[in-house]
């Protein structure tokens, strides 16, 4: 019989066991430049997310007046002045490519600043931590309360209930705002509490309430460390010039107390600035020690910089013991040289170029986007008809896409068969040779189009034929090509 393997045996060298239970993180409150930036960005991100569905945008009568709307029943996407049809989903592909490359660029300049400042997981977790701090107190109090978990006093129960209520409220609003992007927001806001809204809206609110509550309230930094692929991907996108949150150990080591440092400096010896106060560890939302160097868990939020700067000011030493920096500069300083900050380098230039290229292509495609399209499908059975006078008729199914916000009056012209006549089934026969048709705005119109041409002037078996659509008022032309076939 094999002996069961003990957890101790499941170890690789000094890296510890393969499984470690989570140690709950109690980030301490901190103030400073980066904390202020984080508050500001949180306000902007959440403000945009929660309020954007209520922004109105006039598109004329009959069209939705919501600035950003994903209209699934009518298969339209509205974004301010842009209206996209399902077949134009490639714009989203472009947007995703653009987003990815912008992420690469951010990463090559400032490391995982996306993770630290803008990622929804960070923003909502930060908000949930703020609530927790407000209700239960700062790091020490929270640790004390958790340690005395069995002591259920009335005050403690109130606190816990209040905290989870606020969390659930925020989570509920997160889901609530999400569904507003898929329907007229003011209407839905009225329909939701009166249970008039579609079931799917409630289901989605439920899903997002749950995920927000669990991800921001409980899973927190574990999402970044274990679930998110980005920390792994970014490792292959970064280089030695990227400015990551760095403990400048050239300045910090060797750590000693304020008193000892003063004594050493009085003797003219080197003393490190780090006083080992552990403030950088206490404020870290992922619970790591930045002084151990760059780590997978670090989301580059810069809160340890604020914490350290506060301490440095108190003990009268220069700030910036921790800062956005890299190892190259540490070595340069150790050798007595000035640090070099290279934001512009081949990597960032290539990323910028790709961003400019993709963005340019998208802008060009959007600007030159046709608002009137034509698709032509030749009848397959029968392919061609011989008429009583011997002339040839071909029938086509024509699909016209009017993507503009107004009705259009269009006319058909064709070139190809000699002496050909065009007729549109159902069209007014006042102008039989140049049928004029009204195509309503924002719709697809299907027409049956007949092309008739004398046999004598068109002896070929197959003649290419061009269909031109002219907007009577605006002269916009869309074209399509097919063939005119003899029986």
């Amino acid at each position: 019989m094999n002996k069961p393997v003990t957890p101790e045996e499941l170890q690789y060298d000094n890296y510890g066991p393969l499984y470690a239970a989570r140690k709950k993180v109690y980030p301490q409150s901190v103030s400073g430049t980066f904390r202020r930036i984080k508050w500001a960005l949180m306000a902007v991100c959440l403000g945009v997310y929660y309020l954007l569905p209520f922004v109105r945008w006039n598109r004329g009568l009959g069209a939705p007046d919501q600035a950003v709307l994903i209209d699934f029943p009518n298969r339209r996407f509205y974004f301010f002045f842009i209206e996209l049809w399902p077949q134009e989903v490639y714009y989203f592909t472009g947007l995703l490519i653009l987003a990815a490359v912008i992420l690469f660029l951010m990463n090559s300049i400032g490391g995982r600043i996306w993770c630290g400042y803008l990622c929804p997981q960070t923003v909502w977790t930060d908000l949930f931590y703020a609530v927790e701090r407000l209700v239960e107190g700062d790091r020490r109090e929270r640790m004390k309360k958790d340690a005395a978990a069995h002591k259920w006093t009335a005050k403690r129960i109130c606190e816990v209930v209040l905290k989870h209520s606020i969390w659930l409220m925020i989570a509920w609003w997160t889901g609530g705002a999400w569904v507003l992007y898929f329907s007229d927001a003011p209407t839905l806001v009225k329909d939701l509490p009166t249970f008039q809204a579609p079931l799917l809206a409630y289901v989605w609110i439920g899903i997002l309430t749950t995920t927000t509550y669990l991800l921001a309230g409980y899973m927190r930094e574990q999402v970044c460390v274990y679930m998110c692929p980005w920390p792994r991907i970014q490792a292959s996108l970064t280089d030695e010039w990227a400015l990551n949150v760095t403990y400048r150990y050239d300045r910090g080591e060797k750590r000693c107390s304020v008193k000892k440092a003063a004594e050493l400096r009085a003797l003219g010896e080197h003393a490190g600035d780090c006083v080992d106060c552990n403030q950088c560890v206490a404020v870290c939302p992922t619970g790591i020690d930045i002084r151990n160097g760059p780590q997978l868990e670090c989301i580059q939020c810069g809160l340890c910089i604020d914490a350290c700067d506060t301490v440095m000011k108190k003990i009268g030493r220069p700030t910036g013991l921790i800062g956005y920096d890299n190892d190259i500069n540490i070595h340069l300083r150790q050798e007595g040289n000035a640090p070099i900050y290279r934001i512009v380098r081949p990597r960032t230039m290539v990323y910028s170029a790709v961003i400019a290229l993709v963005g340019g292509i998208m802008l060009y495609a959007l600007a030159t986007r046709s608002l009137l399209d034509i698709n032509v499908l030749h009848d397959r059975n029968p392919v061609a008809i011989k008429l009583s006078d011997g002339s040839i008729r071909n029938a086509y199914t024509v699909r016209l896409l009017n993507k503009s916000g107004f009705d259009r009056v269009i006319a058909f012209d064709i070139d190809g068969p000699v002496n050909a006549a065009v007729h549109v089934v159902g069209a007014d026969s006042v102008t039989p040779d140049r049928p004029e048709i009204v195509i309503p705005r924002d719709t697809t119109t299907e027409l049956r189009l007949l092309v008739t041409a004398p046999e004598e002037t068109n002896p070929e078996k197959s003649i290419p034929v061009n269909f031109h659509v002219t907007d009577i008022g605006l002269g916009v032309v869309a074209s399509a090509t097919d063939n005119f076939v003899a029986p």
């Binding site: 059975n381 008809i385 009583s388 159902g426």
Partner: protein, 290 residues
């Protein structure tokens, strides 16, 4: 009965007690859960027989207490479908044929309905694309035996031709040869005359004057003096380029000798009035409608 069962020394399992030429059988019963599941399926089956149609009888079958019938379900589904389509179909029924063609929404509806119904009912003769074949008219072209306006097309669909319906079209091509009205050589002559009407080449040595005379005496009653036909009688235009049965001399001789009387069934009663309208619009919109 004596129990001969004993424990098998090798496997430690009881035997059934039967022995054949010294060979004994181990008693390994089915697992309990399996047996009870099996009993449950039997109980289930009995319940099913009682509740649902099950046992075949001589002329029918047991109906079951729930009165379930897949045919009745289909009827319900169809009724629901009619309810969903109700408003639009009512609009189709209320509009005149000409108005349907002018309204893009109604035209699209009529064409969609017409295409499906055509495939189910008309395609066997006229072809799925309505291109026809020998003896079955091509409905895409502009040559119409019984007229190509919307109303004429609807009438032909509704009552048919030589369909036995009292309102149907009745005219037919007489069998001039079989009846003895024309002699074989006269038929050849008039056949060549008919070919000449639409510019087709004629047989060497054919007497045009004789052909014209025979035509005037026998054919103008239906086909008209200028041979342009008569939609009242279903008499085709003989001067155009479209031939229902073929334009070669042999086929024309055959037509004159034996006559022609193709049948178009009457669809009134088989298709509802709204569908008949949709059919007329669909056929008209194929391109040949007048």
């Amino acid at each position: 009965m004596t129990d001969h069962s004993e424990i098998d020394s090798v496997s430690g399992t009881a035997t059934t007690g039967h022995e054949w030429d010294g060979i004994r059988e181990l008693n390994t019963p089915l697992p309990r859960w399996w047996v009870y599941t099996f009993y449950l399926t039997i109980v289930w089956a009995i319940g099913y027989w009682v509740l649902y149609p099950a046992w075949p009888l001589i002329t029918s079958n047991t109906r079951g207490l729930l009165g379930y019938s897949s045919r009745a379900n289909v009827a319900v589904e169809l009724a629901n479908l009619d309810k969903i389509r109700g408003d639009r179909m009512a609009a189709l029924g209320a509009a005149s044929l000409a108005d349907i063609e002018k309204d893009p929404a109604l035209l699209a509806l009529a064409r969609a309905r017409g295409r499906t119904v055509f495939g189910d009912n008309c395609a066997p003769c006229h072809g799925s694309g309505a291109a026809g074949s020998k003896g079955f008219p091509n409905l895409n072209d502009d040559d119409w035996l019984w007229g190509g306006t919307l109303d004429q097309i609807e009438q032909t669909i509704r009552y048919g031709a030589r369909s036995g319906n009292d309102n149907g079209h009745q005219g037919q091509m007489l069998a001039f040869g079989k009846d003895g009205t024309l002699k074989p050589d006269e038929i050849v002559t008039v056949a060549n005359y008919v070919r000449s009407l639409s510019g087709l080449p004629t047989r060497a040595g054919y007497d045009a004057a004789a052909g014209a005379k025979i035509f005037a005496e026998n054919c103008v009653a239906c086909h008209g003096e200028n041979a342009k036909g008569n939609p009242e009688l279903g008499a085709p235009n003989l001067t155009d380029r479209i031939w229902l049965y073929g334009s070669d001399e042999a086929t024309i001789i055959e037509t004159i000798t034996n006559g022609r009387a193709g049948v178009m069934p009457a669809w009134e009663g088989r298709l509802d009035p709204v569908t008949l309208k949709a059919m007329a619009v669909y056929v008209h919109s194929l391109g040949g409608g007048k």
